[in-house]
Symmetry: C2
Subunit: 336 residues, 2 copies
């Protein structure tokens, strides 16, 4: 067995036998209990000169790097130095009484844009630069989905400490994992059941109604629509859907990426301006890459501004409270 | 129609037709979009003299009030002044294309203990006082569950701004609602399926194993067990289970409440000391009160210290990452 294979996995995926949820437990890099008591979380607002993401040479070897004409890098994708998932270990199930776990086998990468101060939600972050980021998402997705143990690829971006960004230098993350959680599974099932019953995509049907109705739409170009969903989970939740039915993000074409870049830029700029640069998360919901057929699904991008905290009620019941109507939120963002 | 019935409900419950989730959209008291941009959230660390919860006379009329021998109040339950749910309106479904909503009909109460500075997790908050709080939970539960529109009662406590407590004066909340979210439903189903297949309660089976195994146990008394669950959703998640099979929290007996009070006090004190008074939420997971039979379920109390933020990966995949092994967390708390 090679040394590589003997490395300890970074984490363990544990299965909740009651609700069927997966959770990740850091094992390889778990923190000592005492450290939780001491620290007050602060974002590393490191000056550009000392920022680890500015100094790409301090990072793991890039798996993707873009350079400009002068040979300076503009975007890099590197393996995360503190990964939640690593390619080490087998997917063999460990069982202890009712408890099942598997190694946290997978990939964890960081997509870094060059400019330390240029956040993706700023007006100065051009459509071309957003497109460069989306190109990287797709390229890495296509690579990672082919890894045998990978069944789902999560692409996301955290902005601001309250949204979980511990380094202020703009970056997205890509995590490729062996399992699909019931949260995702539930949406896939809902979409599949609707397709079986009605012979059409539930997202297409909702988009059709929302366009006709108009009151939740923020922006649309030829290929994408930006809206506040009817059942928003947070105030000012924004979703971007391809207008045409598309189950698989990774099959997006170049002209579609340009239009997605425009839609994402406009959505993020409106949130930045209208809500005074709030922390936010965005992520892509797309079909699993587990070899099964998900032609009924419709990929989309979800933006969740961090305007409140999910407290005891939300955590205890799974019902989120949003303090503005999506229709008013959409009107407000539309008019910015 | 009386004036009471013409009052606008405080909110609307909206149904997500894809994933079948419910969300609450504030309508009656929705905020104006502009207000989201301006405010920076800060906890109202109002001095005791100006605190609205110290001045119980500024609150709605108490539905429950305890007094000591001198006639001073010690605990009060009052309707929330800014409720997420109100008893107004019908449960008639509104449908617009694929979108279904109902009025946010229900009850929202606040359980206030007298002392402004005495948080429930402090060593000075005695077992007797914790028991007084649990007594109030039960009494209000028994009252609210009999309301026709109420099918689920959520009892929870938020401590600290990062855990969603906007008023620092110690208080719990009780929200009684007409629906059960798929998140709860999933656990009920998991428990029911296990019961049907194995003829026993899945929680009883897990508790039996955990007691035998020992490594996740923090504390136990005669009737309750305190442990870090195998598939913890957050670092230092703690659960309190009645050792005997009990589907319904509201049927707890007096001697059991005493022991629950002791277990809860010890759990909260250990978290307070071991993690340096972190923000936290706790809530009770118990059977719905919708008239159906949930004899397969096993009620419990969940404590979630706020030691990290759920960011893009957690929100996008439903898989939470915990940076300490539950076994090490339990060992640490056990030894405090």
């Amino acid at each position: 067995m090679s040394e590589e294979l003997l490395k300890k996995p970074a984490s363990e995926l544990r299965f909740n036998p009651v609700c069927k949820d997966w959770v990740v437990i850091a094992t390889g890099r778990a923190r000592r209990p005492e450290t939780f008591a001491k620290e007050k979380k602060t974002i590393a607002n490191t000056p550009a000169g000392e920022c680890p993401f500015c100094h790409i040479e301090t990072q793991e070897k890039p798996v993707l790097i873009n350079e400009d004409e002068k040979g300076d890098w503009t975007l890099a994708v590197v393996p995360n130095k503190f990964p939640a998932f690593t390619p080490e270990g087998s997917l063999h199930k460990k069982t202890e009484s009712l408890y099942v776990s598997i190694n946290g086998v997978g990939f964890h990468e960081v997509v870094i844009t060059r400019d330390h101060d240029l956040q993706i939600n700023m007006p100065e972050f051009t459509v071309e630069k957003v497109k460069e980021v989306i190109d990287a998402y797709q390229e890495r997705y296509l690579e990672l989905m082919n890894e045998k143990m990978v069944n789902y690829v999560s692409i996301f971006h955290n902005h601001g400490l309250e949204a979980g960004a511990s380094i202020s230098h703009p970056h997205s993350q890509i995590i490729a994992i062996p399992v699909t959680d019931p949260d995702i599974r539930r949406s896939l099932d809902g979409s599949e059941n609707f397709f079986k019953t009605h012979g059409k995509c539930i997202h297409c049907a909702m988009i059709k109604w929302d366009r006709q109705d108009g009151k939740r739409i923020i922006f649309e170009n030829e290929k994408f629509i930006v809206l506040c969903p009817f059942a928003s989970k947070v105030a000012f939740e924004v979703r971007i859907y391809p207008k045409k039915h598309h189950p698989y993000f990774e099959r997006i074409k170049d002209d579609e990426k340009k239009q997605l870049a425009e839609a994402l830029k406009i959505a993020l700029n409106k949130i930045h301006k209208g809500l005074n640069d709030p922390p936010f998360n965005f992520f892509i919901h797309t079909s699993p890459c587990d070899g099964k057929d998900y032609d009924h699904y419709h990929w989309h991008l979800v933006i969740l501004p961090k305007t409140s905290v999910w407290a005891g009620f939300e955590l205890g019941t799974g019902i989120e409270i949003s303090t503005i109507e999506p229709e008013r939120a959409a009107e407000y963002l539309r008019n910015i």
